[in-house]
């Protein structure tokens, strides 16, 4: 399970590093030094798509994959939840203490809204 999580992360790193959507073959090539099977990369990408963190579109006979949001947007989403700024979702976590200025909160919200518009 830990290995699968680590793979998901590595695949996201590859996708984030690319300006364009990538095919399974391209992601597999980028992770060549790990010696993964092609089907493993395909499974990971399918899983990530099912979890809505990756978007996929068909081009010809191949699927192309792209991150659904940038790393910064995901960080902003985590932080908004951690700071209890997302309405009733807050009960998911137990926190030590929160401290955020209104400017910082606005910046986080904007980071997430920018992501939702694109």
């Amino acid at each position: 399970m830990a290995r699968l999580g680590e793979l998901e992360r590595a695949v996201m790193e590859v996708l984030w590093a690319r300006p364009e959507p990538a095919s399974v073959r391209a992601v597999h090539a980028a992770l060549a030094d790990r010696g993964l099977a092609y089907t493993t990369v395909m499974t990971v990408l399918t899983r990530l798509a099912a979890k809505n963190v990756v978007r996929r579109e068909r081009e010809g006979r191949a699927w192309l994959y792209a991150p659904a949001a940038t790393r910064e947007e995901y960080v902003a989403e985590l932080m908004l939840e951690a700071l209890e700024l997302t309405g009733d979702r807050g009960s998911a976590l137990v926190r030590f203490a929160q401290s955020v200025t209104s400017d910082e909160a606005d910046a986080l919200r904007q980071a997430l809204e920018r992501g939702e518009k694109t």
Binding site: R71, A82, S91
Partner: protein, 295 residues
């Protein structure tokens, strides 16, 4: 009607104990004892409220509530309108409470799964916690089968090493003592009546007591002053601007925790606690027993 009387008496005991808990000051010295009493009082109140409605509705049958309920469908038309309404209200209340708890469980489980996934994708593994690369200071515990302790880069920059260790110990206490399970039923109840000032206050009290429990555990390893200064840094860091609504309210509990660590009121363990416990437990068992046993 004796049945209903018992249920109402049980509810009254639970309410009186809750009022006592809201007003007492010893609770901050002995948060764990207070939490236990809160939990059984709340359970008693819920059980007896349902029991009172059903007890009134099913009074004509002079039997335990559950057996009477099971045999009810064929003879339901024999009840007059008031008794029938009470039975339906009791069943509706019970169903509503259960469904709401389940819905809340499901929505938090989803939120946690999403949060866990995102952490996996963007957080960095450090020796003792996951680190999120963001300048705003947060430290929290994501509960679950394998709980995650998370700090932001901002929190690491804000705190000294000793303070950070104390904060992590606090989060580990949340994780190991399953504090999210203590808070969840109360939060679910509040979601049912979000405009209830009283329930909001009760929830805030429970959340504060849970924090204090975790503080106590962290303090045992890392000392009062370390944790107090960590809290103070968090607190001071957040007051740079005008905090948003929710955060403005959250300010006071942090101050209460700092005060408690620096200058503890040493309230003796209240002798009334075991008495109150015994009273509520009696009320709860009476109330629950009436569901099964005929009177």
């Amino acid at each position: 009607m004796i049945l209903v009387g018992h249920q109402l008496a049980a509810a009254t005991v639970a309410v009186l104990v809750a009022v006592w808990l809201l007003r007492s000051r010893w609770t901050h010295t002995h948060p764990r004892a207070a939490l236990i009493l809160w939990q059984i009082s709340m359970l008693t109140l819920v059980v007896s409220a349902i029991g009172a409605l059903l007890g009134f509705g099913l009074a004509p049958y002079r039997r335990g509530l559950l057996p009477a309920l099971l045999d009810l469908p064929p003879v339901f038309h024999e009840l007059d309108i008031w008794h029938a309404a009470a039975v339906l209200a009791g069943l509706a209340l019970a169903g509503w409470l259960v469904v709401n708890q389940l819905l809340c469980l499901r929505s938090t489980a989803r939120a946690r799964a999403r949060h866990r996934l995102l952490l996996q994708l963007v957080a960095r593994h450090d020796t003792d916690a996951l680190v999120v690369d963001h300048p705003v200071a947060v430290a929290y515990c994501l509960p679950g089968r394998t709980p995650r302790i998370v700090v932001s880069q901002g929190a690491r920059r804000l705190l000294t090493d000793a303070e950070l260790d104390a904060v992590l110990a606090h989060e580990r206490a949340h994780a190991s003592e399953r504090h999210h399970l203590v808070v969840a039923p109360f939060q679910a109840l509040r979601r049912l009546l979000p405009s209830s000032g009283l329930l909001t206050r009760v929830c805030a009290t429970i959340e504060l007591l849970v924090e204090m429990c975790a503080d106590d555990k962290a303090v045992r390893q890392h000392g009062r002053e370390t944790l107090a200064s960590a809290l103070e840094r968090f607190h001071a860091n957040g007051t740079g601007g005008t905090p948003a609504g929710a955060l403005a309210v959250a300010d006071t509990p942090v101050q209460a925790r700092i005060r408690r660590l620096r200058d503890p009121d040493r309230f003796a363990f209240p002798l009334a606690w075991p008495v109150a416990c015994l009273l509520v437990l009696t009320a709860l068992s009476t109330s629950a027993a009436l569901f099964a046993v005929p009177l």
